[in-house]
């Protein structure tokens, strides 16, 4: 009886009433809410935990931590200038090398220079590069890049050594070696995401450009790349983030020095490699100082993201002709 009543209730005036709580949509919405709040909360939690442990060091060293260049565990005197510089330098070189290469690969793969099956193979190989563990890149760097940097570095240093950037003596485990392996590691990120955004440029844009008499060159650089720019910038930011945070391969190749040097051929250190090297055996104020360094690294990544977002907006306005 009750059942038939409710059936009738739902069918009032021949229109199906919508029940108050719909299992599918409402639960899904709640799930989405919880998931997104959890992600945001997690980030704050991580920052809070790190900041909590870093706090004693922040009180003791203040902002001097960021412009003081000695990292001396013996006297408990800490500053991270060499590591900040190393992080920025190695990731910048990596982007400088990987961005043109990655963009070129992605253009090559999204245009019809090759028959589709061949492109699929190249694409697959590029994406496979992204799944190689970083320790393997490190080993490859030891076997291949170190001898290469040493043999190329020696003549370069002897001719251009008067410029600080190329000053000798040449070490195999150096800033340049680490930067090059980083470039290789972020190349697939840049290539894969840029390719996806280039491929999603509507075909009509291309046809329109050709219809207006553009050459292929003009179409690629005047229409397709500007349209796909948000994706390319996003790829670059993601890649930069990975380069700044990469630990294992860098620790294996950079030579882990806490001395400041402008030279590409000298050992250096990054914030991530510093943490990897020293955290396990640290005690006392050094743990706090390392956490402070971790906080600085997080902040640096945040800055890069904000800068990337800014570049992106500027580029989009420019493309839209708003300038």
């Amino acid at each position: 009886m009750a059942v038939s009543e409710s059936m009738q209730g739902r069918q009032k005036n021949g229109v199906r009433e919508i029940p108050a709580l719909r299992i599918g949509p409402d639960f899904f919405r709640a799930f989405c809410w919880i998931a997104s709040v959890a992600v945001v909360a997690l980030i704050f939690w991580v920052v809070y935990q790190i900041a909590k442990v870093a706090w004693p060091a922040m009180q003791q060293f203040g902002f001097g931590f960021l412009n003081h260049s000695a990292w001396n565990p013996v006297t408990d005197n800490y500053g991270i200038v060499p590591f900040l510089f190393g992080t920025l330098m190695s990731s910048s070189i990596a982007i400088l090398v990987a961005l043109p290469l990655g963009l070129a690969v992605s253009i090559f793969l999204s245009e019809d220079f090759l028959p589709l099956p061949a492109r699929q193979v190249v694409r697959f190989v590029i994406e496979m590069l992204a799944s190689i563990p970083s320790v393997v890149y490190g080993l490859w760097g030891i076997a291949v890049l170190i001898p290469l940097v040493k043999s190329v570095g020696k003549p370069v240093a002897s001719h251009l050594g008067r410029f600080g950037l190329f000053a000798g003596p040449v070490f195999g485990n150096s800033m340049l070696t680490a930067s090059l392996v980083l470039a290789l590691m972020i190349l697939p990120t840049i290539a894969a995401i840029s390719r996806a955004s280039l491929a999603s440029v509507p075909g009509t844009m291309r046809e329109g450009a050709y219809a207006l008499g553009s050459t292929r060159w003009e179409t690629i650089f005047g229409v397709i790349i500007p349209t796909a720019l948000p994706g390319i910038v996003a790829a670059t930011i993601l890649a930069l983030g990975r380069a700044m945070g990469e630990t294992m391969a860098v620790a294996m190749l950079i030579g882990n020095s806490s001395r400041f040097s402008w030279s590409l051929f000298q050992p250096a250190g990054t914030l991530a490699s510093l943490l990897a090297n020293q955290f396990a055996e640290a005690d006392g104020i050094r743990i706090n100082a390392l956490m402070y360094a971790a906080l600085a690294l997080m902040f640096l990544t945040l800055l890069v993201n904000i800068a990337g977002e800014g570049v992106l907006r500027f580029a989009q306005r420019k493309t839209a002709g708003l300038k």
Binding site: V74, P147, F171, D283
Partner: protein, 340 residues
């Protein structure tokens, strides 16, 4: 009806508990963590001990001396291990107290990569100078003076150091600080220091690979690693002025001359004997002064006793220096301090 269901759950859980409980009482699992340097030897001991005592399972995690000490302080392990023993402040944090037992020893060698130079002698000033970055070329007059017959090349010296915090750093810098006033003021001693020259590798294997990669490199590694990787090792000048090659014999000479204090914590940072190899160190097992469970205490004591007696026969083949009898007796006496 619901009460019946509850009863089922209750019965099931008690049954489960009983099963878990009975396996736990039959099988004794001990957990330890700490130094990486003695890990191969400890793991060998625990495996051998397990053969004769199948009911005792010892898990040892080679997480590093510092982490081992932390875990002992937090009370999450049954025992710890450390190359740097434990400081008095660290011991003060443990309510039950800590008994430090030297279990084995090793020497730290200066391994080098110089093609064509099979034997290298380094005097005290020279190797301190190399690691200070003041002696930078292999044809330096000071090195030539120690090695008049060697064919020393005109090649830059690349110093390879441990970039991670480690007991090896601790012992090596302690020795350098003991023999060189300059090193003591400019660099100092500790598990991590800021090296004035050279390139850093992570772990003994990291330094080993740096040495192998580049001719002209010199670095410090555990004797066992250098032996396994057949690196060339330099003879070092000791306090009495003799050049001594590293090895089990010269290491044992160093250990035999050590006078232990009451807590058994000592580093022969600059041994004086004529045959002594200058850089040798003990590595300690950290036991609590008192265990809540009598069986845990008894089993641990038995394992330690096995390690310092029968277990010492594995030391040499794995690249460690066997403990002198004098030290074994001290450890056995100290072991009695561990209360059930």
């Amino acid at each position: 009806m619901p009460s019946m269901k509850l009863k089922h759950v209750y019965l099931l859980s008690t049954a489960l508990l009983a099963v878990v409980g009975s396996t736990a009482s039959a099988q004794m699992t001990l957990n330890g963590a700490g130094a990486t340097f003695p890990a191969p030897l400890y793991q060998r001991w625990f495996a051998e001990y397990n053969k004769t005592h199948p009911d005792v399972q010892v898990n040892y995690q080679a997480v590093g001396s510092g982490s081992g000490i932390k875990q002992v302080i937090q009370g999450v392990v049954n025992f710890g291990a450390s190359d740097a023993a434990m400081t008095d402040e660290e011991i003060a944090k443990v309510a039950n107290g800590v008994v430090m037992l030297p279990m084995t020893a090793g020497s730290i060698v200066l391994a080098y990569n110089l093609p064509g130079v099979a034997e290298l002698k380094l005097s005290r000033d020279v190797y301190a100078g190399i690691f200070l970055g003041t002696i930078t070329n292999w044809n330096d007059a000071a090195i030539k003076k120690d090695n008049p017959t060697a064919n020393l090349p005109d090649l830059a010296i690349t110093v390879a150091y441990r970039s991670d915090g480690s007991g090896t750093n601790f012992v090596f810098t302690k020795h350098l600080a003991a023999i060189s006033a300059d090193f003591k003021t400019k660099v100092g001693e500790g598990k991590s220091v800021s090296w004035p020259a050279g390139v850093g590798g992570k772990g003994n294997d990291g330094v080993t690979s740096l040495i192998k990669q580049t001719p002209g490199t010199i670095g410090y590694v555990e004797y066992g690693y250098a032996k396994q990787n057949s690196l060339s090792m330099a003879s070092l000048q000791n306090k009495s002025g003799n050049f001594v090659a590293p090895g089990a014999k010269s290491g044992a000479a160093t250990l035999a001359s050590v006078e232990f204090p009451e807590n058994l914590r000592i580093w022969p940072s600059d041994p004086a004997g004529a045959e002594d190899y200058p850089i040798a160190t003990f590595t300690w097992l950290l036991l609590y002064g008192k265990y809540d469970d009598a069986k845990t205490a008894a089993t641990l004591k038995d394992i330690v006793k096995y390690g310092v007696t029968d277990g010492q026969k594995f030391a040499d083949e794995l690249g460690y220096i066997p403990l002198p009898d004098k030290v074994v007796k001290l450890v056995e006496a100290k072991l009695e301090k561990v209360q059930p």
